[in-house]
Symmetry: C2
Subunit: 460 residues, 2 copies
């Protein structure tokens, strides 16, 4: 059916994407000192891909590539870099080039680049920005970290409510300093309060004479400028927004948040939960070992403390273990099962809280459900545990004590796994951050105590 002589689309309209092969080729070129060849391969890439490439190259190749890119450096790259790599690249660019690059970014992107820097470096770079941009960035940086104010761009399209479609289109055609991309028009009243929004697709499909108020406006989800970005992400996801107006305390339009920024927020917030649950306080894959160690060691030291608590419990039962040494082999099994059941309950609860699926209305029911699950799984594992010890050691009374220890520990750890994050959330703390250490500590301390205590009472 296809005839090859029809006009062919020029190949360049399909974006080049970063691949393993391309990375290898670029790394080879850099190793052989062919900087121009490397730059030729890198330049067609999207800024996000160039950022990924810079992150992945070893330090010497990174420096070499950057020396080649200096003249054609795409400022957008800065917004896509991991924090530690970004700081290095800004250093390499030097304050003058770095300042020029940042000046070309939209406000929200410039803020993202500057906000993680040391105060000294931040000041130095701010000083290089031309005045209107500098004021806008400083205003943005005055909003709390991770707030809507930092995410929003001030470039926006606000239209008075009494205009027609035709007036609106003429205005858009004539006005030079509009944002690069926008998806909704915000309709404002004389007090500059947003009263509705119209998707561009609706404007395009309406006749010129139609007045904007005749078009059914989309209901507005106003974002207060101090709203936390996690909450902003939730609203975009929940209500399928592509852009949303940010307002000040008096309800006046300040800026707009667009979905491309929110995609990153949603990703970042889930990322943070994953890392915190894994005991990693910040994304650190590209950080130098010393910095990563400084971030992760405190968690391990806390863990040493909590594990010591458990060891103190075991030490109380020295004489019991002396008499029945096999208890020492079985007791880690008890706490391991309890810990894992608790972590399952914890993981589900932490995520449900993040998605606002747990409220006062159902918190008790969720707790009850998790306890029912713990009971069911406890019975399954009680039976498996008894069979295991019977098969291995042939001692029924030991098997029963083991099974009882297992089910009790699973129940207690699951209870803690649900209750701790809910309580932390209620009192305004982040449920992801310290919950897993709570759960495993309780599983350990309680598990050793229950199992060894039962053994001392029943077997001796």
């Amino acid at each position: 059916m296809t005839s090859p002589d029809l006009q062919e689309a020029p190949a360049e309209q399909h974006a080049v994407e970063l691949s393993e092969e391309l990375i290898t080729e670029i790394a080879e070129a850099l190793d052989q000192g062919q900087i121009e060849r490397a730059v030729g391969l890198v330049s067609p890439l999207h800024a996000a891909d160039q950022a990924d490439l810079l992150e992945q190259l070893p330090s010497d190749q990174r420096v070499a590539l950057l020396s080649g890119l200096r003249l054609t450096f795409d400022p957008e790259i800065l917004t896509h870099l991991a924090e530690t790599v970004r700081a290095e690249i800004l250093d390499l660019l030097g304050p003058k080039n770095a300042g020029e690059a940042i000046a070309q970014l939209e406000t929200d992107d410039a803020i993202e680049v500057l906000q993680d820097l040391d105060p000294g470096e931040q000041m130095a770079l701010l000083a290089t920005l031309p005045m209107p941009e500098r004021a806008a960035v400083e205003q943005g940086l005055a909003y709390p970290e991770d707030s809507a104010g930092r995410l929003m761009q001030r470039e926006l399209v606000a239209i008075p409510e009494f205009w027609t479609v035709g007036q609106t289109i003429d205005f858009l055609r004539a006005k030079p300093d509009l944002p690069d991309d926008f998806y909704d028009l915000f309709i404002v009243n004389p007090r500059f309060e947003p009263v509705g929004s119209i998707p561009l697709s609706k404007v395009l499909r309406s006749k010129r004479g139609v007045s904007l108020t005749e078009l059914k406006l989309k209901e507005l989800h106003l974002i207060p400028v101090d709203m936390d970005q996690e909450e902003v992400g939730f609203r975009f996801r929940q209500y399928g927004l592509v852009s949303a107006p940010v307002v000040d305390a008096r309800g006046r339009l300040l800026g707009v948040i667009t979905v491309d920024d929110v995609v990153h927020v949603i990703h970042e917030e889930a990322e943070e939960d994953i890392l915190k649950l894994g005991g990693v306080p910040e994304p650190d894959i590209f950080a130098p070992p010393m910095r990563t160690s400084l971030h992760r060691a405190p968690w391990l030291l806390v863990n040493l403390g909590t594990a010591t608590l458990a060891a103190l419990v075991i030490a109380q039962f020295e004489s019991t273990i002396q008499e029945i040494v096999i208890l020492a082999a079985l007791m880690p099994v008890v706490v391991s099962l309890g810990g894992n059941a608790g972590i399952q309950a914890l993981t589900v609860t932490v995520r449900a809280l993040a998605m606002k699926q747990i409220t006062k209305a159902n918190a008790l029911r969720i707790l009850g459900k998790e306890l029912a699950v713990a009971g069911l799984n406890g019975i399954v594992l009680l039976l498996a545990a008894i069979l295991l010890v019977l098969g291995w050691l042939g001692q029924l009374d030991l098997a029963v004590v083991f099974g009882a220890g297992v089910i009790m520990t699973i129940l207690v750890a699951s209870l803690v796994g649900v209750a701790v994050p809910i309580v932390l959330d209620r009192i305004g703390l982040d449920p992801a951050v310290a919950s897993s250490v709570f759960v495993t500590t309780i599983a350990d301390v309680f598990g050793f105590f229950a199992f060894l205590g039962l053994a001392a009472w029943y077997l001796l």
Copy 2:
């Protein structure tokens, strides 16, 4: 400055959002049998909020509310429900009402609702759909689960490349069956292959006489119809896309994926990783206890098996423990620290793989860095561990054995934490799913063996 007599925006243009207070009020109304009052409170809510509410209500209130909503049931609610609750709601609606609701959804949403159902129920509901919709949905369901084909909507706006802005606007104004919302126009050649895209904002800002080819088209990121949704999410996030064309194997335009669907995918994929790392195979907060238990118990049984391996190692050292019983109290500390260090390395690696930050080019460097971190943290904990045992028990030789066990276990567990997910990823398996059980098992087995082995050799 603001004068209160200026025209006020009608309050209804600000969307009502779900709050804890509103949930309580609705639950009270339902408990008191005031179904109409409850429906009046629920109806102004966005479909996603109505879905959240239905999820959170206990079963009897859910049934009561649904009986009230039946006549005005917003079909969009179905797309926002958790799988288990959705199945219940479809049952309550009955095949006729459920079929009518699904028929009103866009293709991609109808597919999302139908794809998780039992084959029998799916067939029954498909049979109620009117013919063109039914064929489109069946075609969608023929694509692999979690593929671009299931995510895309077939409703799209494709424009021939030789049109002008004016022709395009006239076409959009005249054509009745366009999608509800669209953000880019896709330009196709005579073979219906996409050759470029134009954001609507650019069309709106250009004069009628301008030809589309004169506008700088956005580079296209084509999505093959069989691409995995995780990959689709990555591209949207990486390249800041709001919509992207989906093409068949011959490169012809089949449909379009929009960012609102991708926001959910990005969220879902991160969610899946969190749950898998926590040993939970699927989101189950609203599932009945028996179903949740069936999903989580296998993981605990695997854990019983791996913990038994560790117990067998300990059992080899019965005589050592008999002589130095305090070893039994110290050994769980060794494996706990090793396990936690390993999980830190694992968490970072799994996420870096998901974000394509680890490639052949840097895998070895990342491994080296994690080992350096393990070495640094190992030294910190070695010192802390020695001080702890000295302070507690005052035995230098035991303290040294303990410290040595700690640093060795941290090194081995960290190595496993980085290497296992990278290897699983290379051979095409999901690195999140079984990695944590690997890491903790190795930490346990190696940790007990190293610590007790050293003790047997050095202290006896």
